[in-house]
Amino acid sequence: AQSVAQPEDQVNVAEGNPLTVKCTYSVSGNPYLFWYVQYPNRGLQFLLKYITGDNLVKGSYGFEAEFNKSQTSFHLKKPSALVSDSALYFCAVRVPNTGNQFYFGTGTSLTVIP
């Protein structure tokens, strides 16, 4: 069975400090990996993806993520957090050629403290 884990329900970071939101996955096959952000009462917004190639991918709003195949991880990072980054973040996986489903983590609430 495919699964995605976000081990931290809540992450707090001071404004200006680097942030990391963790994601690990367990899938059969080579996954496509995604990060989404959700602000209150809004739909999920696509941030970035890893499909193939360079393990470090860059996305919207200065976010980046590193695909680590050996550790089956895809952690989201940003060098300097902003208060406006405070939101709910979801990691997701799609396994090509096994259907059209996406598997989501349970979400990590990020709070950036001024």
Partner: protein, 113 residues
């Protein structure tokens, strides 16, 4: 560019009443379409997905149903709402190939009273 619409944005319905939520996508053809429910602002529960007109896969048995009468239209329905149907309903689309990611609509907040 592609856009996805959902309506209504908010809905308050009494227990036992019917439900119809609509989702439409513009700017793409033959998308995969999805309905999710999000309870208490946290995890997403996949309810239904569709790879084509009239093709619906149900992930969770419940009193909800979905239909895809047109290529870019996805409807979530219920004949009789339960209190437990309250939540935030999200529609999403993806390509069969590129784009590999999903794009989400703005959501519908449903409160069953």
């Amino acid at each position: 560019s592609q856009t996805i619409h959902q309506w209504p944005a908010t809905l308050v319905q009494p227990v036992g009443s019917p439900l119809s939520l609509e989702c439409t996508v513009e700017g793409t053809s033959n998308p995969n379409l999805y309905w999710y429910r999000q309870a208490a602002g946290r995890g997403l529960q996949l309810l239904f997905y569709s790879v084509g007109i009239g093709q619906i896969s149900s992930e969770v048995p419940q009193n909800l149903s979905a239909s895809r009468p047109q290529d870019r239209q996805f409807i979530l329905s219920s004949k009789k709402l339960l209190l437990s149907d309250s939540g935030f309903y999200l529609c999403a689309w993806s390509g069969t190939g590129d784009p590999y990611e999903q794009y989400f609509g703005p959501g519908t907040r449903l409160t069953v009273t």
